[in-house]
Amino acid sequence: MKKLLLYIGIVSILGTSCKKDFLTSLSNNPNSPTSSAATPPLVLPGAISSLASIVNSAGGYQVQAAWMGYWNYSGGYSFNQTVQEYVMTNSSPQLWDNYYGILTNLNVIKQQANSNAAYSQYGAIADVLSAICFQNLVDLYEDVPYSQALKGSNNFFPGYDKGSDIYDSLTAKLDLAIAKLSNPVAAEIIPGSDDVLFSGNLANWAYFANTVKLRLLLRQSAVSAKQAFIKSEISKTASVGYISQDATVNPGYSTAQQGPMYGAFGVSTGGGLNGNFNFIRAGAFALNFYLANNDPRVSYFYCSKGQDPTNGNSAVYGNYYLDTVSINTTNYYADYLGIQVTQPTKGSGIGKGLIKAANQSTVLMLYSECNFLQAEAILRGYTSGNAETLYQQGITASFEYLGVGANPDAAAQTYYSQTSVPNVSWPASVPDQIQAVIIQKWAALNGINNVEAWNDWRRTGFPVVPLSKSPTLPSASHIPFRYFYPTGEPTTNTVAWTAAGGDKIDVYNTKVFWMP
C-alpha cells in the first residue's frame, strides 16, 4: 500500500513539475539495441553463418537436391508431392526474403564502413558476401532490385535491374573488394573471431573473393557475347589466386548448439533423431551413379538401409560410422524422385559424410568446387593450366571433405584412376572433359551445395537427370528453369514487379540470361 501511494505521489509530482521529461524519458527502447550498438563486428557473424546455412543444403536448397537426383522422400510422410511434381508457386520454393535479409545486414556493415574508414575491410568483406547473395538472386529470379534496393524509407518501391547488369556490377565490385582485401592499411580494424569464415585472414578473403568472381564469370560461359569479357576479367585477377581449402563457417557449433546440417538431420540433444532425417531418403540417380562407378563416397553421402545417426554404433550392415570403404552394395536402396521410398527403414538415409557431428562447420564453398571451376576455365580457354590435375584435385578434395576411409587421397586416386569409366577417368576430348568436370562437380556437391549442381545443369545440361517418376508432371516435363517471384512482390512492389514481367513468368520455359 505504501508503495502504491508512493507511485501515486511520483505520478502526481512528475505530471505537474516536469512534463517534458515525463514523456520523452520513455522514448528509448530499454529492451533492444539500436543502430549505434550494432557495429560491424557484431553484425558480421550472423550474416556469414546465415548465408552458409542457406547455401549448404539444410536451409535453402532441398528442392534442388530432389531435382538433381541426390535425395528423395520417404513414403512414411505425405507432404512433398509438390516437389515430386515440380510444382512451383510464388510461395514455394522461395529464397528471396532470406537473401535480402542477409543483404540488409551486410548493408548495415557497408554503411558503417563508408562513414568510418577503420571498418573498410569489413566493407570489402560485406561486398564479397553481397556478391554471393545477389548472384544467387539473379540465378533464381534473373531481374531483381539491386541499384535501388536496401534504401529503407528512401525507397519503399525499388525498381528491378537486369540480371546481366547486376552480374557486371558485381564483377566490378569484386575487383574493388579484392584490391582492398589485398592491401590492408594500418588504421583499419581487422576482423578476428567475429569472422566466422576465415578468422580475419584477409588473404583467404581475397582468394575467396577471386573464386566467387571466377564462378560468376564461368556462369556466363554460354553467353557468346561475353566470351572476351570473361577471359579478360579472369586474367585481370588471376594472379591473386583461389581458395586452397574448403570455405566453411563455424561460429562455435556444439552439442547444445548444433550446426544447421546436423541440427536438421542428426541426433537431437535429447537423443532422438532431428526432425528431417526420416523424411529424406537417397535418390536413386545419384546412389546408382556412385554404386556403378565403385565410388566409396556412396557410404558417406548415404547410410545403409535401416541405419541412422542414432544406431550407427551398433551398425548391422557395417557401413555407418565405421571407417571402411568396402561397400556392401545390397544394403543401399533408393527410388527415383516421384516414387516414394516405401518406408523410412526401407531406403537409405543421409550418410555420415554429410552429417558428421553436432559441431560440424557449414560449407559456403568446397575446395573441390574451386578446382572444378578452374579446370573448366582452362578447358574453355579462359585461362591456362593443367585441367586434368585440377580435375583430380577436385575429386580428391571431395574425398577429403567426406573423410573417405583412412586415406582419402589414396581412395580418390584409386577411384579416378579406373580405366575407361565415363565421367570418372579423364576422357580424351575437350567436350567430354568438360562433361566429366561438371558431372564430378555434381558428384561432389551432393547435399552440400545443391544449387550449384542445378545451376550447372541449367548451364551445361549435365548430368542428364531422369525426370521425376510422378504420374502428374507439368506439360513442360523437365526440371524447372527458375523460380517465380515471391508472393509479396505483386502486392508490395506492384509497379516494379509488373515492369520486370513478373506476371509473365513461365518457370519451365523462361530462361535466366546466362542459360543457353
Binding site: 501515486i8 550474416a47 535480402y100 532490385p145 524509407s153 562455435g252 535429447g270 509479396g488
Partner: protein, 1068 residues
Amino acid sequence: MTILTVSLLSFGVVSAQTRVISGKITDASGLPIPYSSVKIQGSKLGVSADADGNYSIKANTGQTIMITGTSHNDEKQVVGTSSVMDFVVKRKDASLSEVTVTALGVRKSNKALGYSVATISNEQLNISKPINVGQGLIGQVSGAQISIINNGVDPQIRIQFRGERHINYDNQALVVIDGMQIPSADASSSIAAINSEDVESETILKGASAASLYGSQATNGVLIITTKKGSKNGKPVLNVSQTTTLERMSYFPKLQTTYSGYGGEQGTFFSGTPYAFNSTNPYTGFTNYIPFENQQFGPAFNGSTANGFIGSPDVNGAVYKTPFAVTGTDPRRAFFVDGITTQSDASITTGDSKNSNFLSLQYVNVKGTTPKDVAKRANVRIAGKRTYGLFSYDYTFAYTNKNLNVVGDDFTGQPVYWSLLNTPANIPITSLKNWQDPNSPGNADNYYNAYYANPYWAIDNSRNINKTDALQGVLALNFKANDWLNLTYRVSAQVTNNIYQGYRNLVKFSAFSRSDPWGEGNYQSAGNVPGANTNQTTLTRNLQQDVLLTLHKKFKAVDATLIAGNTITDNYINQQYQSSGNLYVPNLYNIKYATGIPDIGSPITSGGVGFSNQGVAESRLIGTFADLQLNYNDYLFLHGAFRHDNSSLLSSANNGYNVYSVDAAWVFSQNIGLLKESNWFSFGKLRAAYSQTGQITLNPYATVNTFNVSGGYPYGSLASLSINGTYNNPSLTPEQTNEKEAGIELGFLKNRLNVGVTYYNDNNSKQLFPVSLSSSTGYNNANVNAARTISTGWEFDVKANIVRSQTGFKWDLAGNLAIQTTTVKALYGGAQLFPISNSNSAIVGYSFPQMYVQDLNRDPDGHVIVDGTTGLPSVNPNFIPVGRTTPKYILGLTSSFTYRKLSMQIIGDYRGGYVFYNNAELNLDFTGASAHTATNGRQNFIYPNSVVKTSSGKYTTNTSVYTQDGNIGFWAYSPYRKAGSSYVGNAAAWKVRTINLTYDFTSLFIHSNYIKGFKLTLLCNNVFMFRPKENDFTDPEFNASNSNGYGFNTYNQLPPTRQFTALLSFKF
C-alpha cells in the same frame, strides 16, 4: 451476522409501541412497483417492498411513511387509523429522468445526450448469470458485437461496438472500470476478473463522439463498468446465492463412423506375419486396413471382431483387438465429460444518505468438458462512500485471484482435440486411459496410433497453468465548494501479476517400439522426447490520476455545466520468460534440470508484448480537456468537448494532438405544445453529433529502429546482432476518426413503447499499419499512416411493454438490430490489398475484413470446370475476395414474462451476412475424419454441378466424367482441398443464448424477520444454435485468434457447449 443481531435488537426496542401497517405500492395504472424502500421518516427503520409491491412495516400513528425508489418519485403519507395504507406513486419518466454515466464518469440526464448511449443494469446483466461480465451484454445492445473467441474453462471475450474501423490495429472498445481506463491489452483479463454481481451498471458509449473525452482511446467506443458502492438507504442487506452449472457438448463436429484407418501406405508390411489382414479396399483396389493410422481412408467397418486389431503388436507379439465396428456413443464424443461450475456469492450492502458500504465475496469453480481442465476464481470487493460536510470521498478496492489449469499439447506437439479428431471411430479411446502401465495399449510404447499420442497421456502429463492476482483500487476525493463549483481528485491503480507455467513430461520409449518393428515411421522411432517447461511472469501496473473541476451555473433559461480536467496515465509491464524443451528428470519441471541452453524469450519490441517476451514496456499519456454542456429550457441541449493529448508512444516531435466533439439534442416533445398534451405520444428527441477523435495503436518504442540477436547466437563468447525487419517510423501520428451521428428517440403510450434509431458515418483516416514491404527495401514492413476506411451503420432499438395486466402478468419485449459495414477506401500508395491474418485481407473497395482465398476454376456461369479425363477440378492460382468475415446484421431479442412470482427471460440473437473459413474441416478432410469425406461412399463420383471444357470458351455439363479417385486421392490431395473457397461458408446463425426461469419464494417468508428474499432460478445458456447445413463443424463465432483476422476456425477450439444452471439466492 453481527449486523443482523443489531437490527433485531433495535426492532425489539420499538415494537412495544407500534402496530403493523401494510399495503401495496402501485403506479397510476395500478401496476405494482416492486422493491421500493419503505421508511419511517426521522427514524432508521425501513423495509423493502416485495416483487409485487406489497410491504408491511411497524409504525405509530402520526409517523410519516415514506416510499422511495429508483423508478418513481418519492411519496409520503402520515399514519392514521387505518392499518392498510396503499401508495400510488408517480412513475419517473424513464427517458426523461434517467441518469446515465457518461465519459469520465460524468452523470448526465438521458435526454441531454446528443449521441447514442446504452445502459445495462445489474439485473439485465445477470439474466444469464455470466461468469464473464462481457458475456452478459450479448443480445442486449444494438451495435455491440460480443464474441467468444474460444470455448473452454476460461473463454476469451472480444467486445466491439460498431464493427471494425481499423484495418490492422485494435478494434476493441476501451474498457473503463470505475473511472480507470484499462489498456486494451489488459481489457479482456480485467473484464474476466470482475464479479458480475458487483456491477451496478454498464454503460456503452457506442461511438467516438460519445467517447471523445477519452481522447486517444476514444474511436472504438467505450464500455464503462461501474461497480456498487452500497445503498443510500435502508438497513444492511445480506445477499447470498449459490449457483451450479452443468456444461455439456452441444454441437460436436460431424465425423464419419464408417471407414477405418488408412493413410496411403503402399507397403506390404503385414503380409506373412501372424497379423495379416488382407481385405483389399474395394474402392482403391490396392490397399488394406492400416491399424496404426491416423488417416481414415480405409475399408468400411464390417462388424468383425476377428480382424479388428489396432496398433502394432507389442514386444511380446500380442495384439490389441477391438470390434472392427463402431458401437454405442462415438468414442471421440465420449472422451468429453460433463463440466460442472459452482459459484458462491455473498454481499452486504448498507448505507444512508451520507455514508454507504458494499462488501462482496465470490468463489467460482469451473470444471471443464475436457477431463481435468479447471478454472477457479475468488473475488473480494469493498467499496463505499463517506461525506463530511463539503468533503466526500468514495473508494473501491477489489482483489481477484484466478487459477487456470488446462491440458497442453502432447509430446508430438499436437493439441488433444486434434489427436482425438484423428482417432478412427472404432478405437475405444476412453478405455485407453491407463497410459502408465507399460503393458497397456494406452501406453506410449503400445499406443495404436503411430503418429499421434494418446490424449490421456497429455491430460496427465502436459499442463498449462495460469495464476493471476489482480488488485484494483480507486479513491476519489470530492470537494463541493458551493452550489456551482465542485472539485474531484481521483487516483486509480491496477496491479496484476500473472504467473504462467506450461510443462510437459518427458517420455521414453522401449527399444522395441523405437525399432519401428512394422516400419511405419512411428513417433517412437524419432527417439525419446525430453520434457519441457516454460515459466513466464508478467507484472502489469496501470496508474491513473484525474483532476476534474465542475462548474455549474444557471443563467435564466440556460443551465450551463463546464467541466475542465486533466488525466495522466502510466502503464507499465514487466515480463520475464524462461523455457526449455530439454528436461531430463521425469515429473520435475525446473529448467535447471535441462540440457542445452534455455530460451529466455524475445525482447519486448515494437512487435508488442505477448507470450515469450522478455523486458519492460512503459507508456504515459497526459490529457487535458474541457467539456461544456448547455441546457436551454430543458428541451434544447448543446454539448462540446475538447481534449489535448500528449503521448510517449509517439516521437517527441509530434506527440501532441487534439480531439473534439460537438453534439446537440432537441427534446421536441417538451418543446412543441401540441405534443406535450398528447396521450399517445410521450417522448421525442432528435439528436446529432460530430467529432474528430484519434487512436494511438502503437506499442511502446515503436518509433525507433532496433536490432535483434541473430538466430542461434550467442555461440560461446561470440555474439551477433541483426536488424529488425520492421521499419519503426518516427513520423507516425495518431489514427483519426471523423464521426457524424444522428438519431431519433421516440416514446409512445406513456413510454410503453420506445423506439430509437441511430445512423452514423465514420471516416477513419491516417490509419496506422505495418505495410508489407518488398524485403528488397531492407525491411519486411513499416508502420505508416495511410489507410482510410468508412464505417456506416444503422442501429435500431425497440422496447415494448406489451402486456401489463392487473392479474400480474407482464410481458416486455426488447429488440435491437445493427447493420454495419466498413469499406476500405484506400490503403498505402497504390496498394489494393493488405493481408491481415487467417486469410483475411483489407481490399480497396470491399467491405472489411474480407476473406481472400483461392477458388476452383469456374466457367462464366460459376460452375466448376473439371478435367475431361481425371474428373478433378483445378485451382485458380489467383486469390479472390469471397465475403466479409464479420456480421453485417446483428439482431438481439429479449423477451421478459412475469406472472406474479414467476418470471421468464429469453435472450436470443442472430448474426448474419458474413462468411467463415472452416480450416478445421480442411484438416479433417485430409485425415478422412470428417463426415464430409464419406458423402460419396468413398467412390469415384461426378463432381457436383461441374462442367467439362469442350473447346475454347465452351463448356458442357459434366454427366459422365467421374473423379479418378473418391477416396484419399480426392479428399486429401485433390485441387478441391487446395482451394480455400471449398471451406468458406455462410456463417449466419440464430442462437437462443439464454432462457432464465425464476420463481420468487419471498412471500413464504413474509413473517420472517431474517429472510427478506428467496429466489430459485433455472437457466440454460447457449440453448440452441441454428446454422446453415453446410456448417456441420462448429460455432461460426469461434475464432482462431483474438485479432482482426476473423471467421477462421482451427482444431484448437473446443466444440460448443450448453450450460444448465440452478441458482438459489437469499436476501437477509
